[in-house]
Amino acid sequence: MIEGARWRKWVWFYLPLGAFILALLFPFYWMIVTTVRPDGELYRPWNHPLYSPFWTSNPTLDHVKSLLQETLFNTWMLNTMFIAFVATVISLVCGVIAGYALARLTFRWAGILGTAIFVTYLVPQTLLFIPLAEIIRDYRIGDTPWALILTYPTFLIPFCTWLMMGYFKAIPRELEECARIDGAARWQAMLYIIFPIAVPGILSAGIFAFTLSWNEFIYALVFLSSPEQKTVPVGVTSELIRGDVFFWGSLMAGALIGSIPVAVVYSFFVEHYVAGMTGSVKG
């Protein structure tokens, strides 16, 4: 409902929107072009007469091949998937039931515990990574995926909990009351009535947790040593810079391919992701 002349529509709407889209998506285009650009073209300085940044006339898959064949990239992908998946499952389980408890049950400690969980979210990983390294060593899970699988829930659970709290609060209490009148135990009402209704919320929380796990860096950087154990973010930044050369072609290939799983998961569940984000923000 934009009143006024066509040009107004262009100036106030299409142009700004176009500019935003360009600015937000250009780096990805750049990643793609760099990935397929052969080395000779890649290393031309910017004031070289033949510098042609926006396309290449000889696309090559060499960088992708070298990434997949000469580095442990595939192992890193598997590691990261495994870690993200298990950490997400753990966090969902804990977050869903904790969210239910805080949203639906009345008990003395509800307020305090809710705040306590919020406060733990304030403690950033960059504060904990040094002492956690000692703990990881004492439990002898250093340099294994379990160091991450057990520590990722620390920032995934609070988030899942709030998200689920918001969802549960929106479900009418009558549903449980009816179930209990029909003879269900409290826990049965929770498990068989409420949870199925909250599935969209659980899905949102799960996707969020999955993408957050992929995005985590410092714990993975500090707790994992061996190249075979690394996750994609750590592997790409530490192993694709060899000797004198930043292998930009393979680096961008790694960045691109490394982004795909998250993008795919996200694309299947976009509505849930957005709903989850907005739900958490409103709740």
């Binding site: 000779g40 439990y139 002898r140 061996s226 000797g243 004198d244 050369v245």
Partner: protein, 434 residues
């Protein structure tokens, strides 16, 4: 808490096994010994290839030990060793730079049996090697090599401004740089936090003006007239002659800049030259001649108080947490055996200088005159902490890049007096802590 620990541990190991199988790692056979060796990504890739394809399989046959070689970016070695020590597990043999063994000495295994034998048999270790690996009580690590740092420069460009020989003093170098920068060919130097090219420039610059961190009695002596002179010089030198992007460079940027023809001279190991030898068709000058023919090397210029060099030193530490200490030591003995080490040394083409005197006579040095300056690099080098002993405190000053930062701050606009004062304050704090 104990119950939790055990239960989680059992769960973890059970699932961990599943995880291992899922990631296609073969579990280690009971009889086979393995040693995990971590070193930097060699700037001469041919040597790492030699190790991986030829020498390590030979070691396996000769010793029955499987060597797991891991190479990482040089700047990542320090964080890796800290994480490994903190998590109590990681590589068995760790390559360390310069005087870093002093920092991690508490976590090292005494390797005097290995090092002493090598030193004696190979003509004696150079002072710089001994200083960096021995703390008086034990041998912290086994010396490996010294990477000579020299200035690589474009002969044709220096000829064009009338210099057929490389400038001998800093003043002359400053003049040459001014002329070159005016033609769009500045000098390239990093003043960033990178392990190689930054300290190997800043420390000798300091020493050549007579500055030093600590005097012979161990008192902090950084804030002196001489240090101030060096900082003032660097401030002007940077603006007049350098590529000012160097503040953000790491050890690879100057290589790339030189190879793409945007700088005329830079302090570096021999890797620039060796790279042009490797791919003579790819690296051409602007006149389309092979760049390898236009590169020469020279030591850093002389200052009012002398000519100095600081060359990157490498050694291998056997870690205390390692469960394969004996195998690690055996491997180190094997690889330092002259007939094995020699092959590695030759593949380096002079990029590395061995840490013991006998290798100066090796015929490889006679093959390429461009590499001649590197032969005696190890003999001439001084260590950080000069004029005091190269100990843990000197290592801390080095690893915090205080000397490099002193120059970096000055070229960014801080007054030389303030920069020196700041650096001296930081050094004093380190040396006065217990």
């Amino acid at each position: 808490m104990a119950r939790f620990t055990r239960r989680k541990f059992l769960q973890a190991s059970g699932a961990g096994l599943a995880g291992i199988l899922a990631s296609h790692q073969a579990p280690v056979l009971a009889q086979q010994r393995t040693v995990h060796w971590i070193k930097w990504n060699d700037f001469v890739p041919a040597s790492d290839e030699l190790l991986r394809k030829t020498m390590l399989p030979e070691a396996m046959k000769a010793l029955g030990i499987k060597i797991n070689l891991e190479t990482v970016n040089g700047n990542d070695l320090q964080p890796r060793v800290t994480s490994a020590i903190q998590s109590g597990s990681g590589p068995d043999v760790f390559m360390l730079f310069n005087n870093h063994p002093h920092i991690y000495g508490a976590s090292s295994v005494d390797v005097s049996d290995v090092a002493d034998a090598i030193g004696k048999a190979q003509g004696g270790y150079y002072n710089v090697a001994k200083a960096n690996t021995m703390d008086g009580k034990k041998v912290l690590s086994v010396p490996w090599a010294v990477i000579g740092a020299e200035i690589a420069y474009r002969k044709s460009w220096f000829d064009e401004i009338g210099l057929s020989k490389f400038p001998e003093t800093w003043e002359q170098y400053h003049d040459a740089g001014k002329k070159l920068k005016a033609k769009g060919r500045p000098i390239g130097q990093t003043l960033g936090h990178t392990f190689g090219d930054a300290p190997t420039f800043s420390y000798p610059l300091l020493w050549s003006f007579g500055g030093k961190e600590v005097d012979e009695q161990g008192k902090v002596a950084l804030d002196s007239k001489e240090t101030l002179e060096s900082v003032k010089f660097m401030q002007a030198f940077w603006k007049d002659a350098h590529d000012e992007g160097g503040l953000a460079w790491d050890d690879t940027n100057n290589n790339r800049a030189f190879l793409s023809g945007t700088i005329s001279a830079t302090l570096n190991g021999a890797s620039i030259y060796i790279e042009t030898l490797r791919k003579p068709d790819q690296y051409k000058t602007e006149k389309n001649t092979p760049m390898k023919d236009d590169i020469r090397h020279s030591p850093l210029p002389r200052g009012p108080k002398g000519q100095f060099g600081f060359h990157l030193f490498q050694s291998h530490m056997v870690m205390r947490y390692s469960k394969n200490q004996e195998a690690a030591k055996e491997f180190l003995k094997w690889i330092h055996d002259p007939k094995n080490y020699e092959r590695w040394f030759v593949s380096q083409k002079g990029y590395s200088t061995p840490p013991a005197a006998m290798w100066e006579k090796h015929k490889m040095w006679d093959e390429d005159p461009v590499m001649a300056p590197f032969k005696i690099a190890a003999r001439l080098g001084l260590s950080p902490g000069y004029a005091g002993p190269p100990n843990r405190k000197a290592a801390e000053v080095l690893t915090k890049y205080i000397i490099t930062d002193m120059y970096a701050k000055a070229v960014q606009g801080m007054s030389p007096q303030e920069a020196v004062k700041w650096a001296a304050g930081e050094v004093r704090q380190i040396y006065s802590a217990t």
